[in-house]
Symmetry: C2
Subunit: 534 residues, 2 copies
């Protein structure tokens, strides 16, 4: 019997330490490495799966071939206690290997994978809300060590908790020659004439492992993108055919599903990939559903033709539709259409490049984030300055929006009512919160000099008292109004409540002002919406 080699997560950092893993914390990775045949093509025709059991709970986790005769299974235990496993394989060297380990409690910053919560939002598996404030660093895995390190340092002090990036680089001259020349590709071979799409290249993926792991260490979700256009007919990664697409997808799932911070983004701008159609995408979604034991979030990022995000296997909308975030209405509407969380994953980028999708001011980027949030959804940042093309390579952030996005994130995360929902949103379009308890009102590009205290009646009760704070979303200040407001039904209006003294709030006649309104005491009977009336 061949020796079973246990390795720890250090292997992800490319340091193989051959010690037996006997303990692993919840939602961390238990990694099992077996020696097996290195002859033939282990990527095709080898079945290699382990059943992990803990009481009634059973997971089937596929393994992957890591080169040099090494076969790896990565498993993410999700309950504490002793897990037993047994390996099934059609290779006798691998078959029937057994073992066990103990899963211990999750430690401080480990909250598990992110799930959909309350239909339109997200939470970690331990119940902690997760509000995505993502950024975009498409090609960061393919940069030099210095840039990658700088990217990690930048992310550490940024407000971003999700990063979108490509598993396969776009075709660019800089990756063909010069200091960034790419020598390892996802498949064996070095160019179109000698790629062997039947053989993955483990060395390529070991580098990617490290990227995903580093993000996990920072508490950043890795929204990894499996397919992309941008091939220019040079490498052929966008036209491999569905059999290869499936094998590629299955390999990535086997390799990365055990990372708790993984989100599956099947493609970037999928409708620009002319060799794949909706049937192919549906098929890959179903494959992910079948192969990922942990049910990580699944979406796809559209270009000019919008994929039908209402399909059952899509967990959340991953939009590219810039007009959606030019007011709060679009995101609220997308929620009502798809009945899922809406993440506006591309809303143009802050920057100064020639392409118009990369010319936003920091003000406009911040404005679009606020609109997404007031619409009950989320947005993703990107920065594309000529001198610092963060969306492509990572490195430094030099824009003015990240700090404002961080300020918004604080406001969202510190609100007292949990997830923000659009309020009275068939008629209103500038407020979110929870009726009667908390309101976030955003004036966008309007420059009001005052705000009359008027709120939609739902959830309000005569006599309840409210405090208001004035938020300058650009200058990042929050100033409390010294008044307390007591609400009564608005005379002659069946839909609104007002302050009993008809009070107003003075506002600074500037753009990008918001209000937040907290309930400070209870009143009488709460109003509810009339039935059967929009």
């Amino acid at each position: 019997m061949k020796k079973i080699i246990f390795s720890t997560l250090f292997s992800l950092l490319l340091t193989h330490v051959l010690i037996a893993q006997t303990k692993v914390e919840k939602w961390d990775i238990y990694e099992l490495t077996l020696n097996g045949p290195s002859t033939g093509n282990p990527f095709v025709g080898t079945t290699f799966t382990a059943h992990f059991t803990n009481g009634d709970k059973v997971y089937e986790q596929e393994g992957f071939y890591d080169g040099n005769g090494k076969y790896i299974i990565r498993f993410m235990p999700d309950i504490e206690g002793t897990w037993h496993y047994v390996v099934n394989s059609n290779k006798s060297d691998l078959n029937d290997k057994k073992g066990s380990f103990v899963c211990t409690a999750a430690t401080k910053d480990n909250h598990g994978p992110v799930r959909v919560a309350e239909q339109y939002h997200f939470k970690y598996e331990d119940g902690k809300p997760f509000y995505p404030f993502g950024t975009t660093i498409y090609e960061w895995p393919f940069q030099d060590a210095t840039t990658k390190k700088q990217t990690i340092e930048t992310l550490k002090s940024s407000p971003f908790n999700k990063a979108r990036f490509l598993v396969v680089p776009p075709y660019k001259e800089k990756y063909i020659e010069g200091p960034l020349k790419i020598t390892e590709f996802p498949f064996t071979g070095t160019n179109k004439s000698n790629f062997d799409f039947s053989k993955m290249n483990p060395e390529y993926f070991k580098k990617l492992d490290s990227c995903v792991f580093q993000l996990r260490s920072l508490g950043i979700e890795a929204d990894i993108i499996l397919f992309r256009p941008y091939d220019k007919g040079k490498w052929g990664f966008d036209m491999m055919g569905q059999e290869v697409n499936r094998r590629f997808t299955a390999y990535i799932i086997a390799r990365y599903a055990a990372f708790r911070n993984i989100w599956w983004s099947l493609a970037n701008e999928n409708s620009f990939i002319k060799n794949m159609n909706d049937e192919d995408w549906d098929d890959l979604f179903k494959l992910v559903q079948e192969k990922d034991p942990y049910r990580h979030l699944r979406s796809i990022h559209n270009a000019d033709v919008i994929y039908d995000y209402s399909k059952l296997w899509v967990t959340h909308v991953s939009y590219q539709y810039y007009n959606v975030v030019k007011s709060p209405t679009g995101t609220a509407m997308a929620r009502d259409i798809y009945k899922k969380p809406v993440v506006n994953d591309e809303i143009n980028y802050e920057g100064d490049i020639e392409s118009r999708w990369g010319q936003l001011t920091g003000e406009e980027m911040t404005f679009r984030f606020w609109n997404a949030v007031i619409g009950g959804g989320y947005a993703t940042h990107g920065e594309s300055y000529k001198v610092s093309p963060w969306i492509s390579y990572g490195g430094k952030l030099i824009g003015s929006s990240p700090s404002r996005i961080g300020f918004l994130r604080q406001i969202v995360e510190s609100n007292p009512v949990g997830y923000l929902e659009p309020i009275d949103h068939f008629f209103e379009n500038n407020m979110a919160g929870k009726e009667g308890k908390y309101y976030l009102i955003y004036f966008g590009k309007d420059k009001p000099n005052k705000w009359d205290f008027v709120l939609p009646k739902k959830g309000l009760a005569k006599g309840s008292k409210y405090k208001v704070e004035i938020i300058d979303t650009w200058n990042m200040t929050i100033k409390p109004s010294d008044k307390t407001f007591e609400v009564i039904p608005m005379p002659g209006n069946n839909y609104k409540f007002i302050d009993k003294n008809n009070s107003s709030i003075k506002l600074p006649s500037k753009q990008y002002i918001a209000l937040r309104i907290f309930k400070v005491s209870d009143g009488g009977k709460v109003s509810v919406d009339d039935k059967n009336e929009l």
Copy 2:
């Protein structure tokens, strides 16, 4: 053998004239009446279908029982020439009846049923574009003769070419007693305690026949609504159970499908009907698909929960989502999501009632219509003044929007390029037309004092010349600018063309201004969008 009775369309006007129909024009109704058994319950268990054949073309048309032993088949021939038919029935009195008639050419105002055209639009079957400018008269079939006559007179001189109304009245006190007391219901019986949902009431439907026919005579599409909430637990028409729902639907199809002006609207505010769920609606849609030989348009009108209009059996979106029409973006987005025509069938109503959905000014109603059109879709009018509740009963129109809607309709119908599509709509949101040829630009509530001649580059060629007209959408004036503009690429901008002299147009600093721009001469090579860039 019983005598076969032929009746003409006069029967629809409640005048039975017993002459044999030997000729009928294309898309008119060939009506065949047979005598059969009047015992038992002819509404359940009787099969009664005719096959109509003309060369290779075969239609199967179900008949319906019309009371007093009369069985009727209504057929809409769609090609000229001799049609032969044979009746199949499980009642021997009806079975194997045969005959033929000649279908003649359509006459002047008969263009056939309306179909979807160019994905987002409509045309009559003869190819003439149909631009829906609808109105709403929910309960007009249930009013007194004077009001109904007045409604028809009003429609005759209105801009509206589609009318939405209910097949079953809402429960209201006025229909229980007093001059409008309803004595005929869709089913036999007079109240909840004695309705027999297994038996339709033909007398009820004869009155409805006349309503659909009168609209047809005016060239108005009848967007008939099969189910509705608004029952208040009094009659039970919203909780009959799916078997009855299906029989009711099949009866209506058999009775009305041969009217070329029919659109099927499965429900109004379907999500307010608590006893029916999406599965029921899907099932009814499939039933309509199966039973309607002529494939009339099919949709359903949502309330708080949006039905998935991307489902295959839905031909067009029939939206109630007010924010969609507060800018052109919403309609354009709905097109991109559903990939179908978008008709905003409820956008609130012009009026002064206490309910906020009936408080629009004429200006706001007109504004919302323009937004729908600039978004590449359509809208439906309604009027709800206290003194003149048109949306409920018909009668007179007293609002200020209909004439402006008529003005917009003229502009839409007289444009030189056919259907209007949103232009450069991932970035722009105020223009529709056809790139390079025709632009309709709408400024909505903005009050610009000038417009710099700047257009998105797609379709433009250096040296092409354009004329501009300034439209006051409220005062219904169109004033040509005396300048001619010659376009060149905008220096330093890769996305725009401008006038070579940097010319502007002076505008009146008022709300609700639009421009229309016509090409008057050709220039050089036309620009197209860069590939793979949004």
